[in-house]
Amino acid sequence: MKTLVFAEGTPTGPSASSLELLAKARELGDPSVFFAGEGSDAIWAALGAHGATTVHHLETADSLPAASAAASMAALIEAEAPELVLFGPNPTDRDTAGRLSARLGVPVISNAVDIDASKTPITVTNEILGGTKLVDTEFTAGSPHLVVVRPKSFIATEVGGEAPTVTAAPATEDGPAMSARVIERHEEASAGPKLTEADVIVSGGRGMGAPENFEIIERLAGRLGAAVGATRAVVDAGWVPYSMQVGQTGKTVKPNVYIACGISGAMQHLVGMKDSSVIIAVNKDEEAPIFGVADLGVVGDVHNVLPKLLEALGE
């Protein structure tokens, strides 16, 4: 099956999602990649190592890529007729998927955690209600089938492929939709291991009470060599940057240990962390939904439990 995977660059290489999607696409045949933005030999090599044989590259300069990427992909799809087009969860992936769907008049299924291409029609699985139920949806329209996949649904694997053939993606005509420009880019670097790669994560929610109380989360994380995570409630409140958000609209994490402090365990948070091997939760409300997934639940006040924990660990 011909599969096209959407990718863009990050400071450390191709988007993590593109490498995960390549793992799935490889299983189905020779995957090619549509890459939007500035590329490099290192990026091409990484895509090749993960199984991409062809990369269609669209330079986007300072324009916000989605509109021109969708137009270029539409032309490419007409020429190459892939059956499946896969996107990751990143903002530009989602923008491009939506636009491409509207442009081609074909549906897109979002939040996929699995794709069964052996079935006709292709069937996509989603999680609902905080991951307690699975929904299977089939495409009833013809190809291409567009799917936006949740992070970590497939495991990125190097297969040691050669550098792929890189060709220029179809050029696009300028239109009003393409007039959004990126003026500045800002990285909000965080110390310690990357949230999506960390073995241990200490996360804080609104129950921490105030932004300054996040310091103890950071100290605990420092002691355990852990990354710091957060709920959307505290990201929206401006306590910590969005890059720390775990959940449906943030990062999906599967660490060895996830420590949730002052987090209620809303469905949208659970879908981002419930697959952690061990979940430890501290919450003063014994009815908090987080206890429904916790291997160890401590019913207690974070302001009492965490300082003692830090002391016992001998910071």
């Binding site: 990050t10 916000l64 989605a66 509109a67 989602r94 998927a97 939506g98 636009r99 769907s101 509207a102 074909v106 549906p107 897109v108 979002s110 939040n111 609902i128 991951g131 307690t132 699975l134 299977d136 949806t137 089939e138 495409f139 009833t140 329209a141 009003p176 939709a177 007039s179 959004a180 990126v182 003026i183 880019r185 800002h186 990285e187 670097a189 073995d199 355990l224 959307r232 990201v235 929206d236 969005y242 890059s243 449906q248 609209t249 240990v257 061990v278 430890i280 501290v282 014994e286 916790a294 291997d295 160890l296 639940g297 401590v298 019913v299 207690g300 439990v305 924990l309 016992a312 660990l313």
Partner: protein, 258 residues
């Protein structure tokens, strides 16, 4: 500045929702509430309108019911609403929803279209981009800060590693995150005024579309099964008596973290 805001009435998230066993579609009660996520877009719209002596029109697709959710949005200060409500729409997927919203918005001649980044009940997260493409508009997506620049809009766009400053000329679509602004609470006066504001309720035909273009028939996807996910086995719970941190130390030791 004329601003259209896409808002959704949803079943109250505080009450468990039920699925139609046959179609697997969410069963929608008569009295749905405003999707909390939409309050941010409404607030952004009201601020842009207040600064430009403009107006705010709500655009919604779905069963009108008692219009409770729409009145909540009007009570915040929006001027009027268009609710596309038609039994034929039941089962519409994201693309059909976007086509219907785009058809309704096209009639408004808006300078700015605002949406949430994703709805609480559907969370496909692609409707705004589909609407932008159908209307040939630039889209400033995932905005965590919005400001008018005179002939355009500038936003801070959330990215996976930080944020970008992005700009586009009018007309433009903006999708806003829940961190963008602090939504206002309706005043008593606002609640009273909302009762008499105009809520137009066009049908699919009024928008120049046919029933087979919408709903389940018009959608290129169909839910075939809803099944339970493998459950996590229940863990242990300890009530802190001053020593519960030791249970955590033990769990960390067992997981070989320390």
């Amino acid at each position: 500045m004329k601003i259209a805001v896409c808002v959704k009435q949803i079943p109250d998230p505080a009450t468990p929702y039920s699925l139609d066993p046959e179609t697997h579609l969410v069963q929608r009660p008569e009295d749905q509430v405003l999707d909390d996520t939409d309050r941010y877009g409404i607030e952004v719209a009201l601020q842009l309108a207040e600064a430009s002596e403009g107006s705010v029109v709500l655009v919604s697709m779905g069963p009108a019911g008692t219009l409770q959710g729409i009145r909540q949005a009007l009570a915040m200060g929006a001027d009027e609403a268009v609710v596309v409500s038609d039994p034929a729409l039941r089962g519409s997927d994201a693309l059909v929803t976007a086509r219907v919203l785009a058809a309704a918005i096209r009639r408004l001649d808006a300078d700015v279209v605002i949406a949430g980044t994703e709805s609480t009940d559907g969370y496909s997260g692609v409707v705004p981009q589909q609407v932008a493409e159908l209307l040939d508009l630039p889209a400033l997506t995932f905005a965590r800060k919005v400001e008018a620049t005179g002939d355009g809009i500038r936003i801070e766009r959330q990215t996976t590693t930080g944020y970008d400053v992005v700009e586009a000329p009018l007309p433009v679509l903006i999708s806003v995150t829940a961190g963008a602004v602090e939504p206002r609470y309706p005043t008593f006066k606002g609640i009273m005024q909302a009762k008499s504001k105009t809520v137009e309720q066009p049908t699919v035909a009024d928008l120049g579309m046919t029933p087979d273009e919408v709903g389940l028939d018009g959608s290129g996807q169909r839910v075939i099964e809803v099944r339970p996910a493998p459950a996590r086995s229940a863990g242990t719970k300890v009530v802190d008596d001053g020593e519960a941190h030791l249970a955590i130390v033990e769990a960390l030791e067992k997981a070989k973290v320390i």
